[in-house]
Symmetry: C2
Subunit: 479 residues, 2 copies
């Protein structure tokens, strides 16, 4: 029987070393394991179940908007990758090259997809012939490879799992509307299901996706005050269509190029969840994606009727919730610590006295709040508590972001805010000149995150050069 | 308005050129497209939806038996691949090698996984420490790469999608039971859901998976009389555990090696469905995996009330079935041909007269049978018809297999049977000597498929050498 709470709980406190705390959670909550290829992770059952829940929820949203799933090859020939100039410049430095098949050297080397614009375009050139073939609303779930120098679990790995939507439209307006719509889907998923507040905005030109006309992104603020780009949506105009010669015959019989988008989110979101909600006891999961939403812990389980009542309760809750009953021989204390580490949103304690009184105790993971509820209508109580967890997590994360958002009107003010109050979002006015963007970074360490859809007018002048300001921009140190 | 049935129907008749017929269906039913890397396919929305249905049904079966999904990296270092001698010999000649990450040459080359035994073993060595950690019942859905010389859509491609289960057990008995159980799952899935009758059996030693002690397989007979290996399940003993030093402390405190299995099915099953059920009008899909189970075709849809009634009917059937209503401007004849090509199991025709009489016409794809049914209780009629399609497909496939199964007692009899009645399964008695196996192949062209779990005693003597027979074996020309 394990009754030593310490063994489970031995993770580095987040205030002591946030990076180590993060890695500790990835390991101790059994999300990942390392493999012999650096930057390539094993995603363990508990971690993968989180990803499957994310997939299921997002996939339903995509389908409801008319998207269809497809599968493109994982390989791109070098000549195909080179068809769009900006794109190849952006990705060639970080792709993994296959040069041999078995014993034979390939006549042309091929890379493992870092993203699949080129593959989708090659296919679209085959199947888009008429205006009747538009729009094409395709999505794929797959893994991609980018040969990064420094890697961290979920946040930056050489192979990662993601979805990539790729769509083609008859008009720029329609394509831009799709780009915005999908960013809104990502934002709503983050806020509703992951309980992570996000800023929606547009990337500055220096930070656009390789080959895109415009890149939109959602940006979240982690517990430590660093920003995380949590999802992106790109508008390509007809640039790729021209490079790949994708043309369709319109109603008026003229040949036209279609307009394109792509959008993606990845296992990076798991990193975002950890760093937004986690604490010194481990992971904290929002109910929508938790592999176990409610864990039932029998108290004094050796006493007559306890396990029987626990099983009965489990049966009642199953189907409505993802429930686990832990009837192992470990002590309740050990179990509490274990499911705290794993971030299970709700613990249900049930002992002989509870059973006698027809009640049980519900404990919410994120704040330790205990509620004694009747076993009659337990389903409603669990629903209410899970909803309270989501709301509590969201409010806590929003409060952290608000506390760590600084409106600054001078370079000095940026430095002072960050040094006095800690890392966070810096909101400032900018003239639109990339040189000022670079200078702000050099002087203060923060980089531009996005120009929010909802800008505020903080000042008339650019914080850097003093010329007329064009935009309010979010800056931060980013993951 | 398209009203030319010919355009849809232009596929090569199967009796004229089965291989071309197969490729025509893959293209015309919009299952695949080719990419610029030979042997790597685009799986289009309709083809991918078939795969997603297969995944969903299998995944539920795996989970019900306690398996958990994980994700392993797609890369294997050369040294990791070499840890198990037989395994590397089997796979090294057909792996794709990555030698460069961006501009840099890797210090050790890595291959894209052809299968993931080595990756699972590396991970299992980290997480299996005690008897309490057993069994480990893991599965993953992913794509793998084998650099094949000749390729065909779904049947043999350089990249393909599959699932691979990898399990670890305390005893050989338990591992063997798992190997057999998963073969039974595959067999039941094929028979119940894909309507494909299969032979369950064991591979001869010459045909075992690289590194396995025993390989079990299900073998199906295609319409043209060639066999298709449709799923395999391997028992590894403790060979990999020893090679990878996976040890656990048993109850008695002694260190032991666990026993291992792996099992997989792939997108090859889509090829099996095409070649088992398809006909000269196109694809024929069993209802369980059909992306569209019922297509509603309005007749004289311009007449008042027809489309309205069709929509009402669609709403009634949705949720219970995967339904499509085609209200495009194409003629009913065009639509009939299109959904025949796509293999939709059931067509529902609804015209003004049907509506007036409160009835509709149901037409089953595989045999063109028409049934006039009342709109009252249409849900039950559709259920009954879909069930009849599954049964009809299964019986037809079984009949084809029975007609094409030849019990042979001499090499000459093999030759005669195949030349007089066409390709098929040859059942024969065998002494167990690999030399006889090779000789049979050289003399007749058929290769051993499996030693069935249910052997019959056809003769006392080996068909080849005349010595005492040990086994009844299925031989065939195989895909």
């Amino acid at each position: 029987m394990k009754d030593d709470k310490k063994q489970v709980k031995s993770i580095t406190p987040m205030d002591e070393d946030f990076a180590q705390w993060y890695t500790d959670i990835c390991k101790k909550a059994e999300l990942i394991d390392y493999s012999s290829v650096r930057g390539c992770l094993v995603i363990r059952p508990y971690g993968y179940a989180i990803w499957e829940n994310m997939q299921r929820l997002l996939d339903a949203r995509f389908r409801a908007l008319g998207h269809e799933n497809v599968y493109m090859p994982m390989f791109i020939t070098e000549s195909l990758l080179q068809k769009e100039k900006d794109h190849v410049e952006g990705f060639a430095p970080e792709v993994a090259w296959v040069t041999h098949g078995g014993e034979e050297e390939l006549t042309e080397r091929i890379c493992v997809r870092p993203t699949s614009e080129t593959l989708f375009c090659e296919h679209y050139a085959h199947v888009i012939k008429s205006y009747r073939d538009l729009p094409k609303l395709y999505n794929q779930w797959c893994s991609v490879v980018r040969w990064e120098k420094t890697t961290r679990p979920f946040l930056r790995s050489r192979e990662f799992l993601w979805q990539e939507g790729h769509t083609m439209h008859a008009t720029p307006e329609e394509a831009i509307a799709e780009t915005e719509q999908m960013l809104n889907v990502y934002a709503d998923f983050h806020e509703s299901d992951l309980a992570i507040p996000v800023i929606k905005g547009r990337k500055t030109d220096s930070d656009k996706f390789a080959g895109a006309e415009a890149t939109y992104a959602i940006e979240a603020l982690m517990h430590d005050g660093k920003a995380l780009q949590a999802g992106t949506s790109h508008y390509f105009g007809d640039g790729f269509a021209r490079a790949f010669d994708i043309k369709y015959t319109d109603r008026d019989n003229s040949l036209k190029y279609p307009y394109q988008t792509s959008w993606g989110v990845s296992t990076r979101m798991i990193g975002g969840v950890i760093m937004t909600h986690g604490d010194d006891n481990g992971l904290v999961l929002p109910p929508a994606i938790a592999p176990i939403q409610v864990v039932i812990i029998p108290v004094a389980q050796h006493k007559e009727g306890v396990l029987e009542a626990a099983h009965k309760l489990k049966s009642r809750l199953e189907g409505k919730f993802r429930v686990k009953l832990d009837e192992s021989e470990n002590t309740p204390g050990w179990k509490y610590a274990e499911y705290e580490m794993k971030g299970v949103p709700l613990r249900l304690e049930l002992g002989p006295r509870d059973i006698a009184e027809n009640k049980c105790v519900l404990v919410t993971r994120h704040n330790g709040e205990k509620t004694v509820v009747s076993l009659d209508g337990i389903e409603d109580s669990v629903t209410e508590r899970l909803s309270a967890v989501r709301d509590g997590l969201y409010e806590k994360a929003l409060l952290n972001r608000e506390r760590r958002t600084y409106d600054c009107r001078s370079i000095d003010e940026i430095k002072t805010s960050l040094s006095e109050h800690g890392a966070g979002f810096v909101r400032l006015m900018w003239c639109g000149d990339p040189e000022c963007e670079t200078k702000i970074k050099e002087l203060t360490g923060v980089t531009s995150r996005c120009i929010p859809f909802e800008e505020e007018h903080l000042d008339d002048k650019c914080i850097c050069c003093g010329k007329e300001a064009k935009h309010m921009v979010y800056f931060a140190v980013a993951y």
